[in-house]
């Protein structure tokens, strides 16, 4: 019974998975379809093969990790080699199709008003009127027959009955697909009120892979994902193509990016480092100071308050506090000292404020961790140190810190990596400003790499440059991975010596 139930569930799973996969393939998302397919195969195997039984517990987690972590990484790397951006979003086939769909109405063409007629066999003809009220009968594939001036369209015409407005609206797209009249001068319906000769504006030659303008004869050749004429006019839409290392060389090969980005990288590392250092130091200090004091519970509850408040709200409160004119902090400082720092317009103070806010936001976390970890240090060590005559500083340095770091080391690294990409804080506080001077793209002194990428790739709204942003993201990813890697090695070394 149990086995059948399992088979049933796996069947449902495979059914849903395949359904999703087919939809993705139909819609052209091939790489994602492959990943979904792999997950389906994996899931099925795990639940049907005895040997893989232990994986059952992790199957869901692994599948989700593949879909939501591995796939985006692979896809970002893939994107970084393309020119995907506004205007280059479609595949080549789609772009060609869209260019072919573009029609034009010749300048000397007459626009007619129309009434549609239908015979019992379901065939249509149009009775069209020019601006002077002359009627013509237009049948598919035959030249227009002049009917002379007509006051009103008749209710019946050669065995065809006129369709009323309601039916005309209902069937307008059906009728709109039919060409009425003889070939080059065939009429099509343009709107409820108009029919006119309309022709494709561009002709595509598959052999040479070029488009030519039907009217002017201009030839458009493929160049980096756009059909371009010799004069440099491009046809829209363009399409997505692989441009190799183009995005990488654009970034690395340009002084304009390289120099300011170095400042951003250094600030980024400093920001992450000092944020972790100060919030850990503060959290630990409080934890040690209050370890054996009465009222510890109350203080702990109070200190944890900043923690559950949404980060964005805290940032907004800090923005208001530090506002250069009306902020509580700034006006307090200026009434005490006559002037106060510019927390939004001066580089140093902006960075100081950002680290300050980050310390405020994250010290409760380290306080909780440290106060827990402190308990795990054997009391005997302290007693021994006491007997040996070690002062509080020495015990801190030789007992507390090494023991704590053993436990908290990995968390500190995680916190560092998190802060390395702390977009919310930097963007929410001052959007990366104050601005850097003389850069070739807008950059700010308080920008982290991630906010710089965001500005470049997404804040440009309709001009978004996904391929380029993906390339920078990949480089950032490599950078962070390397740092985490070396830190992990260091921690391991530290653990072994400890």
């Amino acid at each position: 019974m149990n086995r059948f139930l399992r088979l049933f569930y796996v069947g449902v799973f495979v059914f849903l998975g395949s359904f999703l996969m087919f939809r993705l393939i139909r819609d052209g998302f091939y790489p994602l379809a492959v990943f979904v397919g792999a997950c389906v195969v994996f899931g099925t195997l795990v639940f049907l093969r005895k040997a893989l039984t232990p994986y059952r517990w992790m199957a869901v987690g692994i599948a989700l990790a593949v879909l939501f972590t591995i796939y985006p990484i692979v896809y970002t790397v893939f994107l970084s080699f393309t020119n995907m951006s506004g205007g280059h979003l479609l595949t080549k086939q789609q772009a060609i199709q869209r260019i072919l769909e573009q029609k034009y109405i010749p300048e000397d063409a007459i626009t007619y008003s129309w009434s549609a007629y239908k015979n019992p066999a379901g065939e249509y003809l149009l009775l069209v009127f020019d601006a002077d009220g002359n009627g013509f009968v237009a049948r598919p594939g035959k030249a227009l027959e002049p009917k002379g001036p007509l006051e009103e369209p008749p209710a019946e015409l050669d065995g065809y009955a006129m369709i009323d407005m309601v039916e005309a609206v209902q069937r307008i797209d059906e009728i709109g697909k039919i060409e009425f009249g003889a070939a080059p001068e065939a009429l099509t319906i343009q709107s409820l009120g108009e029919a006119a000769v309309s022709k494709p504006a561009f002709a595509y030659d598959e052999k040479t892979d070029t488009f030519s303008d039907v009217v002017s004869g201009t030839t458009y050749r493929v160049n980096r994902g756009t059909y371009v004429s010799d004069a440099g006019e491009g046809l829209s839409p363009g399409f997505m193509v692989n441009i190799g290392l183009g995005n990488y060389t654009r970034f690395l090969g340009n002084d304009g990016y390289r120099k300011p980005i170095l400042e951003i990288i250094l600030w980024n590392i400093a920001f992450a480092f000092f944020s972790v250092l100060f919030s850990f130091a503060l959290g630990l200090t409080i934890a040690i100071a209050f370890e054996n004091l009465p009222g510890k519970r109350v203080i702990r509850s109070l200190l944890i308050i900043p923690y559950p408040i949404p980060v964005l709200v805290s940032i907004m409160v800090w923005r208001a506090l530090l506002n250069e004119r009306m902020g509580l902090v700034t006006s307090g400082l200026s009434s005490l000292f006559g002037s106060s720092p510019h927390f939004f317009t001066e580089v140093g103070w902006t960075r100081f404020a950002i680290v300050l806010i980050n310390v405020y936001l994250s010290y409760p976390y380290f306080y909780i961790l440290s106060s827990g970890a402190l308990k795990s240090i054997p009391k005997e060590l302290y007693e021994a140190a006491d007997i040996d005559g070690a002062g509080p500083l020495v015990t801190l340095r030789s007992i507390t810190l090494p023991m704590l770091l053993r436990i908290l080391g990995p968390l500190l690294i995680a916190s560092f990596s998190f802060n390395f990409n702390n977009f919310t804080l930097v963007w929410g506080f001052n959007a990366g400003l104050p601005a850097m001077a003389d850069t070739i793209v807008p950059m700010g002194h308080s920008d982290l790499l991630i906010s710089f990428i965001y500005r470049l790739g997404f804040n440009t709204a309709n001009a978004a440059d996904y391929g380029f942003s993906a390339a920078i993201t990949v480089m950032l990813f490599i950078l962070v991975s390397l740092m985490v890697f070396f830190q992990t090695i260091n921690t391991r070394a530290m653990k072994e010596t400890a």
């Binding site: 829209s236 400003l433 309709n462 001009a463 440059d465």
Partner: protein, 413 residues
Amino acid sequence: MRKNGLLLCMSVLLILACVTQVFAAGADKKDAATGAAGKTLTVWVYDNGRIDVLTEIGKQFQKKYGIPVQVSLVDLGQIRTQFLLASGGAECADLAIIPHDNLGALVENAAVLPINLGAKKKNYLAPAIEGFMYNGKLYGVPLAVENIGFFRNTDLVPKAPATWDEMVAIGTDLVKKGKCEVIMGFPDATYNSYPFFTSFGGNIFGKNADGSLSPDKIEIANAGMVQGLELMTSLVKKGLVPNAIDWDAAHVLFESGKAPFIMTGPWALNRFKTAGVHYAITPFPAAKKGGKPGAPFLGVQGMIISASSKQALLAQAFAVEVIATEASMQAIYKAEQRPSAWKSISASVKDADSTGFAAAGVNAVPMPSIPAMGYVWDSWVSAAALSFSGKKTPQDALLNAKTQIETQIKAKK
């Protein structure tokens, strides 16, 4: 035996999945061919306030033509993406409402269809139509227009200043007397401060011969823009305007009577009313006596047709014959209370706020809708910040912005 059963089971399911797909695809095709019964028009709106009224208009359409209209709320970013990627197989509505500054990217990706409004065009405000024109073709049925206005605190300033100099004189006087702290706060140094620039003849993009905007003619550092930024910078340097640009703080200054002026849009009305500040909305001051008042950006919202719609003619019939009528436009205006793009409705409005915004927006210029505008904002923000902090002269700052914009446009080519 068991394994075989398993294989059989799996294959059956796989085949079933395939069949369902084929069936579904077949059903799609059938829909397109069966006429009235199987058809539905879908409309995406990004603004909550429009759903009910459009649903109501859709019901009338259904009563008359038997085709239901389904209106749903979709995030603007999502509308944009789905329209852009629609021929990539993404689901897409037949019609959608967008702010016109998104139009350029959609046209450049051939994601929208031109609309023929015919003689109805003349019922609309000219700048509203202009907003939805791209490369000489009309791509949308305008619904509402929006622009910022020049607010003054009527308790402090009884008569609206005609020039920036007058404004500065009045403001400086109030600051000296201790009645105010500053002249105004800039909510931002770009969109909400554009009249400063335009009053001197500032402009962002130049025009091609056919009247469309050209991304190759960047005028962000022209004489008018520089003079505008010089004026703004001098106000900041004298301490008459706060150095740090802060949207909220600028509004708070006005609400609390600490600043007699502000330049902002209809979205601020509620908070001003709640704060109880007495205000009036007037046209922007001019650069000099008798000069042209500063011109704000005009935002136009309108209905577009997806190029991937399988019933584009029907969609167009709905947009042109049903939406672009006085009755529908009136209903839409009543529902959303945004200034209507329909001339006679716009002219019939009498309340002080609306007429004030209309007067301030008489010479409004549609916000550029070419995609390259996306590069402008951040560079413009940086230029203003660099100029205010004194790190660069206004001219150098704007030239720097121009170079940045050029670089990004070139990099994409």
